[in-house]
Amino acid sequence: MVEESVIDKIIRISGRNPNLCYQCGMCTAVCPMAEFMDVKPHQIVRLVQMGREDVLNIDAVWVCASCMACVDRCPRDVGPGIIFEAIRLVSLRRGIDKLDYKAVEEIEAAPTLALVTASRKYTG
């Protein structure tokens, strides 16, 4: 059996169709984190459209706050935030953790809820 490609995996997990994106940029326009991203949300969708497996190396999907404003406002129902979620999942399933507990300062003082959500989002 042929192994599923990274892009197919991202599409399957997200359940969205990146090919419907016409690059209007609405996702980036409404993104509260866009200015901190190395690659902007609409550009990430473009790379997924073009089948670029190196989307896994983009730091911006970890900067994403998962507020899903882009999903709400997307004019073509592509839902960039959902696609970023899928990109993160593909990385995490490969055992790449993005949260180093040892590096968290004053871990005892952090709210439990923040630790739980951060663990869910950043660790496999």
């Binding site: 016409y22 690059q23 209007c24 940029g25 609405m26 980036t28 326009a29 409404v30 993104c31 866009a34 200015e35 902007k40 609409h42 550009q43 406002r73 004019p75 073509r76 129902d77």
Partner: protein
């Protein structure tokens, strides 16, 4: 002409079309022919590459003559394309079209079942068998003739409606023109200039308005709405509700004393709320009819205007009227409205005064407008130096209007140009997704606007618009070409809102026409019948059919008028005699069919139901309502339906 044909025993011919490979690549046409030959009543069957071609039609004509056929079944594409083609062919061979049927084995078989040749072929055989079973018992009836009333109704007095009305009136057809507002002129009269020539919109449309107002063949009803339509092609009966104007247009001298005296001030809808007017007002200086009008809703009946009117033109007791008219054709041209900007709260429309829509911006440009042509901030009247235009404000968005509104790219380019011509040191920022300039001279116009210093096209979207403490608008967005976020301080934000149909659901129901998923009036065929509706004698013109600009609306209006003329220049029209018939032996006069008929075509007479053959549309609603099976559709009797069902299931 029909004398040569003997109808005593069925002699049916079946003609199977390949449609190139459209059908033949999936359906085994030879097998269909072979099976058709076995059907009872079939004496001839053959197939051909293109049955609709001259040669194909000749095959049918020859077979009718040589094989003495008295019935023809053509298995090809959809009847909406080629029903008439073959009907004319069989008639030219002397056979009545009532003994002919076209069935689609393309849309119903090959196109949808391309993955399963065997079953597609089986289905085609069954479809042919059903058609043979149906026409085997078809009788030949004389066509029914109807008189045509040589008069037309045009609904909507915008540029499309006026054009259609004038075309008809100039051809000698009396026209009733119904307009909801107190004046004709529609949306075009609100515009500044028109793209791509930058002609003054008012100067273009006002001569046409004046012509409509004075034309001896046009009867104009303003403040009026069509509330009921009955009848059929060539003979419609319409009811029009005319609201009271309360000012006699014949007497009114436009002195304006009444408006000066009127104490009631309300929002002026003509300027889209950018100015106020009185409860008695003249919509705009060039209004037709040239007369003041009283806004019934806001008038307090104080009588101040009556006192000052020098010619006693005002009558506050005027009541609404119901007018009845008979017409042969109807042209629907009710136009469009703008999408409601308040559905885009992120852009602040309806929240911040300086966020306006494109028609309001037109009013700022017009020299006779509320600001006398000065482009200012609505909030404080200061000159507007920086304007942000947002294209696709809701258009091409599954959450708002999924379609492209077609005219916005062009009107935004025009508005930016007009802004720069009035404010040379101003800056115009235009956020766009794509710039669509399909039209004669349109791309050139866009290029001209791009050349203007101070006009910046930004490829991307605006995320949010808000007002800071100084009352300036802050626009944040993305430039997708640089990938950088953009923040602009603006005096005005103009939303290029899309077109939505201005078409009342009740009117749609009365006309019995259909609409598309967005509520635009539906044409019969997008290419070949663009101004016809499913209802014969009802035509559509202008933006009520879909987003379009003035040139297209005018062209479509003339097309609709031409279609209406084809009908109205006839003295009478023939109607297919396929109507309901009552078997008096069985009818017990219960009247259920009378209540069911949507065309009021059935009456009770001497205790029996009787069908008015002119009014009956042959819809068949009455048939299942009859408890005794006494009412039948000609050539679609219950017996024939049973035969069709048996044929579909292969029961002999």
């Amino acid at each position: 002409m029909l004398d040569g044909i003997d109808y005593s025993e069925p002699r049916i011919g079946v003609f199977v079309c390949h449609c190139g490979t459209n059908i033949a690549a999936v359906v085994d046409v030879k097998k269909v022919v072979e099976e058709a030959k076995k059907l009872p009543g079939v004496v001839h069957a053959e197939d051909y590459m293109y049955m609709c071609s001259g040669i194909g039609q000749q095959l049918i004509i020859n077979a009718i003559r040589e094989k003495k056929l008295n019935g023809v079944v053509v298995a090809a594409c959809t009847p909406s394309l080629h029903y008439e083609t073959f009907a004319r062919a069989v008639e030219s061979a002397g056979l009545s079209r009532q003994r002919y049927k076209i069935v689609s084995i393309r849309e119903y078989c090959s196109w949808v079942h391309f993955h399963d040749r065997k079953r597609a072929t089986e289905k085609a055989i069954r479809i042919v068998a059903a058609a043979v079973a149906e026409i085997r018992d078809n009788k030949v009836y004389e066509p029914i003739r109807r008189k045509v009333i040589k008069k037309a109704l045009v609904i909507g007095g915008g540029i499309a409606g006026m054009t259609a009305a004038l075309d008809l009136a100039n051809a000698g057809i009396p026209v009733i023109l119904v307009e909801k507002e107190p004046t004709i002129g529609g949306k075009m009269i609100q515009l500044s200039v028109t793209f791509p020539t930058l002609d003054c919109a008012q100067c273009t449309i006002t001569p046409r308005m004046a012509e409509v107002g004075k034309h001896p063949n046009i009867k104009l009803y303003t403040l009026s709405e069509v509330i009921d339509v009955s009848g059929h092609i060539g003979n419609f009966h319409v009811k029009i509700r005319k609201k009271p104007r309360m000012v006699d247009p014949e007497e009114c001298r436009l002195c304006g004393w009444c408006a000066n005296a009127c104490p009631v001030e309300v929002i002026n809808e003509f300027t889209r709320g950018l100015s106020k007017r009185k409860a008695i007002y003249l919509p705009f200086p060039q209004a037709v009819p040239a007369s003041f009008v009283i806004d019934e809703e806001h008038c307090t009946r104080c009588g101040m205007c009556v006192k000052v009117c020098p010619v006693n033109a005002i009558n506050l007791d005027e009541k609404e009227e119901i007018i009845e008219e008979d017409v042969g054709a109807i042209i629907l041209a009710t136009g469009y409205d703008l999408y409601d900007g308040r559905k885009l709260p992120e852009y602040g429309y309806g929240i911040y005064k300086n966020v306006i829509d494109s028609l309001q911006f037109e009013q700022l440009i017009v020299p006779s407008g509320p600001t006398k042509g000065r482009i200012v901030r609505i909030s404080d009247g200061k000159p507007a130096k920086r304007v942000v235009f947002i294209q696709c404000a809701g258009q091409r968005d599954v959450n708002h209007l999924p379609y492209c509104s077609k005219i916005c790219c062009m009107y935004v380019a025009k508005e930016a140009l007009m802004f720069k011509s009035k404010v040379p040191d101003g800056e115009a920022y235009i956020f766009y997704i794509d710039v669509r300039t399909a039209g004669k001279g349109y791309e050139e116009f866009y290029k001209k606007v791009q050349e203007i210093p101070g006009v910046k096209y930004i490829r991307g979207r605006v995320g949010k618009v808000w007002e800071d403490e100084n009352g300036d608008l802050i626009v944040t967005g993305i430039d997708t070409l640089t990938g950088e976020t953009v923040k602009i301080r603006a005096d005005l934000v103009v939303l290029a809102l899309g077109m939505i149909p201005n078409l009342d659901k009740r009117l749609v129901e009365k006309l019995k026409i259909s609409t598309d998923e967005y509520g635009f009036a539906q044409e019969v065929h997008p290419k070949l019948k663009p101004v016809e509706t499913e209802i014969g004698g009802v035509y559509i013109a202008g933006a009520v059919q879909g987003p379009k600009d003035i040139s297209e609306s005018v062209a479509q209006a003339s097309a609709a008028a031409s279609k209406a003329l084809q009908l109205l220049t006839k003295d009478e029209i023939e109607k297919e005699p396929l109507i309901a018939e009552v078997d008096r032996e069985r009818c017990d006069g219960c009247g259920l069919c009378v209540a069911t008929c949507p065309y009021s075509a059935i009456k009770l007479e001497d205790g029996y139901a009787r069908v008015d053959e002119i009014a009956c549309e042959g819809c068949g609603m009455c048939v299942p309502s009859c408890p005794t099976g006494a009412i039948n559709l000609r050539n679609m009797t219950n017996k024939q339906i049973h035969e069709i069902i048996k044929a579909v299931y292969g029961v002999r």
